[in-house]
């Protein structure tokens, strides 16, 4: 069954089209990652799924039901621009949010989550006294009490230290294991690769990627050589069939042109320097993202002229 079905949805703000005839399906029980550059339409799409704003055209179904303006306890929504009443005490605040979302036995759930995310000691503190990381955990709990069937998280890891990020990641996976569908947006491609079952990329309001990581990578083929050589990047100039060289510091990535033979590249390199490692790999999600959203050759040319 599908948790979310988006059918040719568009949304414009004055003259700017934020989302352009977008269609998308999110399977129930999956962790679905939204990626895309800033201003590409991720948050607008999430807001429309959460019923915060309405699409200009098209339909959105959540668990098979078309919704318009109504709120549902089935959905938990954590916006990117988030804040809570800072003067309230943590427990009161979470109980307020839980009851507002339709929870009945929220105290038990709140206590469980406070313990789960290491905030039990702060339950009676005012939110304004908490650190940023703790506040973000409180905001996360406010989104998941009572436990939703669909969790929409807009940049849930932004600003979190690795320990707090791991806590939230663990909580998300735990919820998925209980059948909750999770839609999250992130700029961290590592998070998207490791956490998400499916990845969707939106660029300038349009869908440009949609599928599992493997399927997306498969569509790009094994066109990348990851190499570590003595002498570093200067040793890689003018290799046959190489379109682009990217220096990652200790390692370099080479993108092969169509019909490029990696065997010939290896042979050439052996004549030039000593090779530490050489592997033919699929492009990373980060690389795919940059290929789509990075400046196009003509744009880069315009930019360089402008400089």
């Amino acid at each position: 069954m599908l948790a979310v079905e988006i059918d040719t949805v568009s949304k414009a703000f004055q003259s700017v089209t934020a989302v352009d005839r977008l269609s998308l399906s999110v399977a129930e029980g999956a962790v679905f990652g939204f990626i895309g550059p800033n201003g590409s339409g991720k948050s607008t799409t999430m807001r429309m799924i959460a019923n915060i704003i309405q699409p200009d055209t098209g339909t959105i179904r959540v668990f098979g039901r078309e919704r318009s303006g109504t709120r549902s306890s089935e959905i938990g929504y954590l916006p990117e621009e988030r804040g809570v009443y800072r003067k309230m005490r943590v427990r009161s605040l979470l109980e307020f949010h839980g009851k507002l979302r339709g929870g009945h036995n929220v105290t038990t759930e709140v206590n469980a989550w406070l313990g789960r995310l290491g905030l039990a000691q702060c339950a009676e503190q005012k939110v304004e006294t908490l650190s940023k990381g703790m506040s973000q955990k409180v905001q996360f709990i406010a989104t998941v009490v009572p436990e939703p069937k669909l969790l929409i998280l807009d940049e849930p890891f932004s600003g979190l230290d690795p320990v707090s990020a791991d806590s939230i990641r663990g909580a998300i996976l735990e919820m998925r294991s209980r059948g909750c569908t999770v839609i999250l947006s992130t700029h961290d491609m590592g998070v998207a690769e490791s956490l998400c079952d499916s990845i969707f990329m939106i660029f300038r309001g349009k869908k440009v990627l949609d599928g599992t990581l493997k399927a997306i990578q498969r569509s790009y083929g094994s066109d990348t050589i990851r190499v570590e050589v003595e002498g570093g990047c200067p040793m890689l100039n003018g290799l046959p069939g190489i379109e682009q060289t990217k220096d990652l510091g200790q390692v370099q990535e080479l993108r092969m042109a169509e019909n490029c033979d990696p065997q010939r590249v290896l042979e050439t390199l052996i004549t030039r320097t000593r090779i530490v490692s050489f592997s033919v790999v699929k492009p990373s999600l980060h690389d795919i993202f940059v290929r789509i959203a990075g400046p196009q050759p003509e744009e880069a040319a315009v930019a360089s002229h402008a400089e």
Binding site: I53, R71, S72, P79, Y85, L100, Q139
Partner: protein
């Protein structure tokens, strides 16, 4: 999921508790009666402070009226002290100084004026010689007084009667009439203000109007209306800043996942209503207790108290909805301060009309203005609280207008709030707010 009313009540309860636990509310609760009563107290204390000694210099060009004028002045002061219609009065001790006219009249007046400037004298009274033979000739020299007074001093109020009484006394004596032999001919009569005579529609009994109490006629309606205005402002205006602050703290989008913008706004309006009703109920109970304590409970306008609360609810609903809407359009509490004047307009304009309404509560101006919905709560309540009230249908027609207006205002405010809480950037112009109201979907 909770049905909508539950969510609205949850939001209202949270906001209400936040408001009544805030320092601003508690300080306002104490400050409001001080503002209402304190002003009069300060004036009273101020007049007591000024009630020392006031020296009045009299240049008597007639040469014969000085003593009579002084005597009449002191008699007027004694009568003023005895009149407690407006409450106990405190007058300064008047000291008189007879100044013989000099040949250089202008120089003499300059010297006396300098003494006034130095605070040595309060007033210089110059009685011309013709004052004993007044005519209708407008060119005849009048009695003049020179003072730095604002015109609100007791001495200035007493002066015309005292001077005329003194002059009249001397004139009668010059005509050979002994004033003491005709005291009744010169005695002032007492004027008493009465309420209109009424007829009981059930029994047909005609009831004599009771003596109109000056406090009931003016002060009680004034206090009631003043209380309404202050409670409405204290209840509504903080919503503007509070919503702007919440928007700055990014609170709303979290809440929008659980409640619609209309539910959020309605909850905030209900919270403002709750806070206003709490404070006004406390004030009304305290006021009634005070009247009972002073054995003046009969002055309590019990018949208009239900209307007071009805108008309060309508006014707070309107203004707090506007406050919430404008607050949502602001980017910061500072922006909100700049828009606060919008909330004051519907309460300040009726304040300017209050004198006219009190003078002619059923005049065309008062009646017309009290049917304009934003002004109805203040002006209609004022007219109703005045002793003879208004035709029975007028408050109901006024109320119908207020309810329609309040619904329209809350509807428009909800549409502004819906867009405002997710908007960013500069504060929109009023024309843009109008576009937000008109925007569909």
């Amino acid at each position: 999921m909770h049905p909508m009313p539950n969510r609205v009540l949850l939001i209202a309860k949270r906001d209400y508790l936040q408001i009544i636990h805030s320092k601003a509310y508690l300080v306002g609760l104490i400050l409001l009666p001080l503002l209402i009563g304190g002003g009069f107290l300060i004036v009273g204390q101020g007049s007591k402070g000024a009630a020392k000694e006031q020296r009045v210099a009299i240049i008597d060009h007639t040469g014969v009226v000085y003593s009579a004028v002084v005597q009449a002045f002191q008699e007027s002061a004694r009568r003023a002290m005895a009149d407690t219609s407006f409450g106990p009065r405190v007058l300064p001790r008047f000291v008189f100084e007879e100044v013989k006219p000099e040949a250089e009249a202008t120089s003499q007046l300059l010297a006396l004026s300098d003494r006034v400037r130095q605070g040595e004298l309060f007033l210089v009274l110059e009685i011309p010689s013709q004052a004993l033979r007044p005519t209708d000739d407008p060119k005849q020299e009048p009695v003049r007084y020179y003072s730095n007074s604002t015109g609100m001093d007791q001495a200035v109020f007493l002066l015309p009667d005292a001077v005329n009484a003194g002059l009249r006394s001397v004139r009668l004596a010059q005509l050979g009439v002994d004033e003491r032999r005709i005291p009744d001919a010169l005695r002032d009569v007492t004027l008493v203000s009465m309420n209109l005579v009424t007829k009981d529609p059930a029994t047909g009994t005609i009831a004599q109007g009771e003596k109109r109490n000056i406090v009931q006629a003016g002060a009680v309606p004034f206090f009631l209306v003043y209380l309404l205005i202050m409670v409405v402002l204290f209840g509504s205006a903080p919503q503007l800043g509070a919503v702007a602050e919440d928007k700055m703290q990014r609170v709303f989008e979290m809440l929008l996942g659980s409640a619609s913008s209309f539910e959020l706004m309605l909850g905030k309006v209900l919270a403002a209503l709750g806070a206003s009703l709490t404070s006004s109920t406390l004030y009304i109970i305290a006021g009634l207790a005070a009247l009972a304590g002073m054995a003046m409970f009969g002055l309590a306008p019990l018949n208009v108290l239900p209307w007071f609360f009805v108008y309060l609810i309508a006014d707070v609903a309107m203004l707090s909805a506007v406050g919430v809407a404008l607050g949502s359009a602001c980017g910061s509490p500072q922006d909100a301060q700049h828009l606060a004047f919008v909330l004051f307009i519907p309460t300040i304009i009726p304040l300017f009309l209050m004198t006219a309404v009190m003078q002619q509560p059923n005049g065309v101006l008062a009646a017309t203005m009290s049917f304009i919905p934003p002004f109805t709560p203040v002006l209609m309540l004022m007219r109703q609280a005045l002793p003879n009230g208004v035709p029975w249908w007028q408050p109901w027609v006024g109320l119908a207008g207020v309810i329609i207006w309040a619904i329209a205002v809350v509807w428009a405010a909800a549409r502004i709030f819906r867009v405002g809480i997710l908007s960013q950037g500069k504060v929109p112009k009023f024309s843009e707010l109008a576009q937000w109201v008109a925007r569909a979907g």
